[in-house]
């Protein structure tokens, strides 16, 4: 027979589930996209997003406010993505050109150029790739990226500069080939 205490506990649990569901709905696109742009694998991105939200559910009481929540989600997702790639190691067999792209929330720009850029970003090493995704998907400053990835700001800036130079050069070369 349920006691008054257990009824209160059940109510509190139900209330926390409602709050968690709201948090999940508000952030699932950001977490999934971060993982997808880094991993370029829909299934793997979904797996990482699932794991991130499970960790959030366990830690929800430690989250102080909305800003902390966003920071926590970006940080855990970034680290989980890098761990995922390292764990998977050389088993990466996904043909990047063949994977079906999830639809973008808002479609802008040249779809062909966007696709080519995503493919080139996927060829960058792990840390510079995550720096690029955080910079251009999440619109973070180098200082914010430095907090999320726990690396010096000058390293973030150097990753950004080098990656931009590599991508520019490769995109110009490939566009030249198309013309």
């Amino acid at each position: 027979m349920p006691t008054a205490g257990s009824a209160t506990e059940a109510q509190a649990e139900a209330a926390s589930d409602v709050t968690f569901a709201e948090v999940l709905r508000a952030n699932q696109s950001s977490v999934f996209s971060l993982a997808y742009h880094f991993l370029r694998d829909r299934g793997a991105a979904e797996e990482v997003a699932q794991d991130v939200f499970l960790r959030l559910y366990r830690k929800i009481d430690d989250i102080e406010n909305a800003k902390h929540l966003t920071f926590w989600l970006r940080k855990v997702t970034s680290h989980r993505c890098i761990d995922y790639v390292r764990r998977r190691g050389s088993q990466c067999t996904i043909a990047l050109e063949d994977t079906a792209e999830p639809p973008a929330i808002e479609q802008h720009g040249d779809p062909l150029l966007s696709r080519r850029l995503r493919h080139l970003i996927a060829t960058l090493p792990e840390k510079p790739r995550m720096v690029m995704v955080l910079r251009y998907q999440e619109d973070l400053t180098p200082e914010e990226i430095s907090d999320v990835l726990e690396m010096p700001v000058r390293t973030v800036k150097s990753h950004l500069q080098r990656s931009l130079a590599i991508l520019r050069e490769k995109i110009e070369r490939s566009m030249g080939e198309i013309r």
Binding site: S29, Y57, R58, P103
Partner: protein, 101 residues
Amino acid sequence: MEDFEQELKYALARKEQPPSLEAKVFASIARDASARKLSWRWEALAASVILVAGLGAQHAHAVRERVAGEAAKAHLRLALQVTVTELSKIQRTVRASTEDE
């Protein structure tokens, strides 16, 4: 911002999450909760076994100490008896020699 950076923003625009993600997250939370409950039960069982084994060892130690104590007491009693017997013999010998004089 340069055009190239704007193109990067377009390329890395947020994607729609799979519709199944929310259900999968709640399923993994439910699985995790039941696994934690099961693990909690195993931990409680293991703790009980350790407690019972500890109490058993403590009891066995107490029994061993009591047996050793009783053995020591018996030895002491025997030693006292031997001493009393020897003292009586000496006393008798002393008394006999006194009477002879």
